[in-house]
């Protein structure tokens, strides 16, 4: 009997910092095994060799910020059996979506001497605004253990086991003392999806929302707590307006404090 065909894996980049793709190369213990288990068909950060589509699984990093990329993602979707977005840029627009709250022409003029050389859309948008997405893996950056879970799941035809509950659960499970209760430190943990591995509160800082909004976040209530702990409107607005600023629940809450 012939050996079963290896799944074709492709990795694509849009506007981003490369950190989420790097998380794949950061799986040092699993990387060579993974490279043996799949056909790495398109992964420009790691290889010159590219294989034409169609692809079994496409991992997409980055957000859509210009018309060229808006067209490119359509082609990638057509060539991909499954498409998984990785990281806050791809799932929510990323930190570059702060332009969505300003005039993009002002942003271009601030950075570039010849604004006419630059083509940019008014907004930085997540991939799901443009094409159907089979799964969204959150994080700024993504967690590499979660990435391995998602790869394993898609290569074996099952749903990934990625929790949608809040970061608070990770603190409780680990026995991390609540930074809001004990120190009055504003923390987005109650409204942020778990998955980072519980990083900020154990370092005595508040969660800053890298993994974006949880399933059903009660942001209005949390903002009330921030207010009574002494945070002013601008501070509350900026807490929600960072790496997942354009994710709907965070966007709406930040706009309430504009």
């Amino acid at each position: 009997m012939p050996e079963p065909r290896k799944a074709k894996l492709a990795v694509w980049k849009f506007a981003s910092c490369d950190g989420c793709q790097l998380s794949l190369l950061d799986c040092e213990d699993e990387l060579l095994e993974l490279a043996g288990a799949v056909e790495i068909a398109h992964f420009l950060e790691a290889s010159r060799a590219t294989v034409r589509g169609p692809y079994d699984l496409s991992l997409v990093e980055g957000s859509i910020t210009n018309s060229h990329d808006a067209e490119r993602i359509q082609k990638i979707r057509r060539q991909s059996k499954s498409l998984v977005t990785i990281g806050a840029c791809a799932t929510a627009g990323g930190i570059q979506a702060l332009r969505n709250f300003a005039k993009v022409d002002d942003f271009i003029a601030t950075v570039y001497a010849h604004p006419t050389y630059i083509e940019a859309l008014a907004k930085s948008t997540p991939i799901h605004d443009h094409v159907r997405v089979d799964f969204e893996l959150r994080g700024c950056p993504i967690d590499r253990r979660q990435l391995l879970e998602v790869l394993g799941a898609f290569l074996n035809g099952r749903r990934p086991n990625i929790p949608a509950y809040s970061e608070c659960f990770e603190c409780k499970r680990r026995g991390t003392v609540c930074v809001m209760v004990a120190r009055g430190t504003p923390c987005l943990g109650p409204v942020t999806q778990a998955g980072c591995g519980n990083l900020c509160p154990p370092h005595q800082r508040g969660c800053y929302g890298c993994f974006g909004p949880m399933e059903t976040p009660n942001t209005a209530s949390l903002s009330g707590w921030f207010g009574s702990a002494g945070a002013d409107q601008a501070k509350i607005r900026d807490l929600y307006r960072s790496f997942n600023a354009a994710a709907a629940p965070f966007r709406r809450e930040s706009e309430r404090h504009d």
Binding site: L22, A46, H203, R205
Partner: protein, 432 residues
């Protein structure tokens, strides 16, 4: 091919670099008439989106410029804010900053040298192909890279975009146990770094030398990583605050990254070659000896040998991290107290790819009024284009596909970080 016609070689999207770029080379007869290192990475406008944010947010926001070298951005921003707010981070906290920066040098340099650059010297497509023929090289490289990441995690809480760094120091000082746990692996890492330095020194290096203007930092007491003055091989010696008096950026049509040059319009080189050549005397004895055994003099002018220089720096970084980890005792306070206020500050550190400069102006509340960030790849762009010109001119008889690969390799000499510089690469060679 006919020598009197125009030749065109195209690379749509350059591989094994961080970010998106292209190269366009046009040859008429025996003359290279145009070289454009094109950066089409979509801009993300960091300098604009920082306006109005609090000074304390700059390290976490600017980290997102680059997932490969976030420490360079976090520390450059922190130093600039500390300069603006007139505070100084010293003692154990300064040592911890140097330790985590060593982790970033190890992780980034090993990724580039072993996984992205080495395949060019072996005529291979990627490190996965190397792993099939030389598994020991790749497994040693992966274990070194992993250790770099473990340093980042021990001090910073996370390898990509660490959470524990702030203006003034750290949110929480790492435990003595966590840092001492790095000691034994770092002792082994010194041997692995020596092994890889020797393995890469045996490569055939294309014969190309250039009289570069090397720009790097220099510190009186140590091989400069995170602090020092800015010096050049042409006699410059300035504090970071004078950077913009001596260097500027220009916006060209074929690049979304601004191109750096001296105020006199001269190109220059930043990165491992510049640091090594300017500061060879400050390397450890073992690193100097490894460099000599690898065939390097105290100044290195062949950019293809940068892969060896990177490994010499990895060796040094492992030794330095070992020294710092062995000496670590938990500090009384995890940070220096910072009071928000108005000011203007400058910060410059040695990112793995070269000096990275930040300056900010703050209002009375500590909100950012203006930000300028000049990453290493922007500064290297003109020199990269010039090297490609030199390499193509010297290899005019090569077949198009070989010449294209040689051009890619020339660009990868710089470990260009295109995500960083747009604040990068397709290759087109157009021959007539």
């Amino acid at each position: 091919m006919t020598k009197s016609k125009t030749r065109t070689i195209k690379v749509g999207a350059l591989a094994r670099v961080e970010g998106e770029g292209a190269l366009y080379v046009r040859i008429r007869g025996q003359e290279v008439t145009d070289v454009q290192f094109q950066i089409y990475e979509p801009p993300r406008f960091f300098e604009a989106l920082l306006q109005g944010r609090m000074f304390a947010e700059a390290p976490d926001i600017t980290a997102r410029i680059c997932g490969i070298c976030p420490i360079a951005y976090m520390m450059g921003a922190s130093h600039a804010m500390e300069d603006a707010l007139r505070i100084e981070v010293t003692g154990v906290l300064r040592d911890l900053r140097r330790l985590i920066y060593c982790g970033e040098w190890i992780e980034s340099h090993v990724l580039h040298a072993a996984m992205l650059h080495a395949p060019d010297f072996l005529g291979m497509q990627d490190a996965f192909e190397i792993a099939r023929g030389h598994p020991d090289v790749v497994t040693k490289a992966l274990s070194l890279k992993k250790l770099g990441n473990e340093i980042l995690e021990a001090v910073g809480g996370r390898a990509v975009h660490p959470v524990n760094l702030k203006v003034g120091g750290f949110y929480k000082a790492p435990s003595r146990t966590a840092i001492r746990a790095l000691v034994e692996p770092l002792k082994e890492a010194v041997d692995s770094a020596l092994y890889l330095t020797r393995a890469f020194a045996a490569f055939d290096f294309p014969d190309y030398n250039y009289d570069y203007q090397f720009v790097s930092m220099r510190h009186p007491d140590e091989y400069a990583i995170h602090e020092g003055r800015i010096i050049s091989s042409h006699g410059l010696d300035i504090p970071p605050s004078a950077f913009l008096e001596h260097f500027r950026e220009e916006h060209v049509k074929h690049s979304t990254a601004l191109q750096g040059m001296t105020t006199d319009g001269e190109r220059y080189l930043v990165g491992p070659l510049a640091r090594y050549s300017n500061n060879f005397d400050q390397l450890s004895d073992l690193a100097k000896e490894a460099a000599r055994d690898a065939g390097l003099g105290p100044v290195c002018t062949n950019p293809f040998q940068s892969i060896v220089v990177r490994m010499v720096e990895v060796l040094y970084a492992c030794q330095e991290a070992l020294r710092l980890a062995e000496a670590y005792e938990e500090p009384d306070a995890s940070c220096v107290e910072v009071v928000a206020g108005a000011g203007e500050g400058h910060g410059c550190t040695e990112a793995p790819r070269g000096i990275c400069y930040h300056t900010y102006r703050l209002d009375d509340d500590g909100r950012i009024l203006g930000a300028t960030i000049i990453p290493p790849t922007s500064q290297n762009q003109r020199q990269i284009e010039n090297d490609v010109l030199g390499v193509v001119q010297a290899n005019m008889d090569m077949a198009d596909s070989d010449l294209q690969w040689r051009c890619e390799q020339t660009i990868r000499n710089y470990d260009p970080c295109i995500s960083c510089s747009t604040h990068f690469l397709n290759l087109t060679v157009d021959r007539a």
